[in-house]
Assembly symmetry: C2
Homo-oligomer: 277 residues x 2
């Protein structure tokens, strides 16, 4: 008798991103744990409820988790509170410890909630934006819960923001014979290189992009091919924004568009990629 | 009046990977272009036909493309014919030119097929394994077709083998504050580094993995943390294989399992990832 939790990727925003496997999983669970936080919470909780209303064939229960405060955690999939650029090894160690602390703090709240709301032979679910494997904290948090409460965990993959971005732009992520690097806003300068390949950035509040624009303006080697950027926000949702072009020209415009959209809507979820062209 | 082509990601193998968006797209198209090649073709064509039979509400037509021969192209999503390790800049240039030639050769066959089979105001579709954005040649080939035949192209993302792999192992792809690198079998030694992060490898016929095992055995720095591998084949399909563990121990076993499975089934589709633990 072990409680079972389904971690269900529901896609990047479009209701059509939902997979048949996710719908089947939604119909196996009896309780849905909602962990939302942030200014985007209301809109995203509503989107999740719309998914349940559309695809769940039986009544369902919802259990909500109040989130502990944390001053900075870009590994919360949304919204991303920026923690500045990646720093010295010591700062990085502190950063990782902070993130781990935050996972533990949430796990300490989540474990009793699961224990109370889910029968010992029950199946619960968490609906995760995008793919649970990519820059999302749910699985790490459940790993921490498992330290005190036995759980069987099953993961259902979902369409990630990266995939929504490339599909919207009709792009192939990789160039022929070249790698693709996925990273976060705070590691852009560290992980970008001119050795070819594509850099994909998630969890950027704009400072990663601003830093790359500045560095390109200052230090692009003479004759090096310019960078091209493809950006998208609210991918697959109403109000989707798409922009692309030469980084030097379009980059600053993206930053303005991003700031305006965030101010108007109260939150933003975006992703971008760059490569030499 | 422009012919429209839907490039539909159908997931990594599990019928449940199909998204609602993909099903909707399947029902918008009147002709399905099948481009399969290789020893896996029969099984994979049957899988595609099962998807159409299950989700297509009206009759459909299929148009098949004979594939030109090419001695080596790891960018054909399946099966991957290995082209050896990445080489000198000159060899890399030759390699890229070969791939481009092959895309042109296929495009030269595909353009008249589309022109003949799809009315000028018609909607056609290509069903792509995994995600059309990730190490798949369909979009590049259509780009080449567009040089001679105007086309409107729409991409529907699909669950990739990488996502099926992480979901099956219950893994988070990224470590906290670390990058993720996606690459191909032939670039493993070039793109692997000990600076943290996760290396994900697709399109490897086993030689990339063998090379990494050998290099780890020879040159792992004293005190460096060992590598851990997570591998999967036929992900989401009948006969799914999953293995994980320390690379030095499990790696050779994976190579044996892979060779046996390929011999028994006639083809294999797999993916793996490594990181320090």
């Amino acid at each position: 008798m072990t409680r079972r939790l389904l971690v269900i990727g529901i896609g990047a925003g479009a209701p059509g991103h939902l997979t048949l496997q996710a719908i089947q999983a939604i119909n196996r669970a009896e309780v849905f744990f909602l962990l939302d936080k942030s200014e985007a919470a209301a809109e995203l909780v509503a989107a999740r409820e719309a998914i349940l209303a559309a695809h769940r064939r039986a009544p369902w229960r919802v259990a909500r988790l109040a989130s502990p405060k944390r001053r900075a955690d870009p590994h919360i999939h949304m919204p991303r509170i920026h923690d500045g650029a990646a720093g010295t090894p010591a700062r990085e160690t502190t950063y990782r410890a902070d993130v781990a602390d935050w996972h533990s703090a949430r796990a300490a709240l989540l474990a009793p909630l699961i224990e109370a709301e889910l029968p010992e032979d029950g199946v619960g679910a968490l609906l995760v934006w995008g793919d649970p494997a990519l820059y999302d904290s749910t699985l790490r948090m459940l790993e921490a819960v498992r330290a005190t409460l036995p759980l069987a965990i099953e993961v259902i993959p979902g369409i990630s923001a990266v995939q929504a971005l490339t599909a919207a732009h009709g792009l192939v992520l990789n160039e022929v014979g070249a790698k693709v690097t996925l990273t976060t806003g705070r590691r852009v300068l560290e992980d970008f290189s001119r050795d070819g390949g594509t850099l994909v950035v998630m969890l950027d509040d704009g400072t990663g992009l601003a830093a790359l624009i500045a560095r390109e303006a200052e230090t692009r080697p003479a004759g090096a091919p310019p960078l091209h950027i493809w950006w998208g926000a609210y991918l697959g949702m109403e109000g989707e924004l798409l922009m692309s072009g030469a980084l030097a020209q379009v980059g600053p415009e993206i930053l303005r568009t991003r700031a305006d959209a965030r101010a108007a809507r109260g939150w933003i979820m975006d992703a971008w990629l760059v490569r030499q062209t």
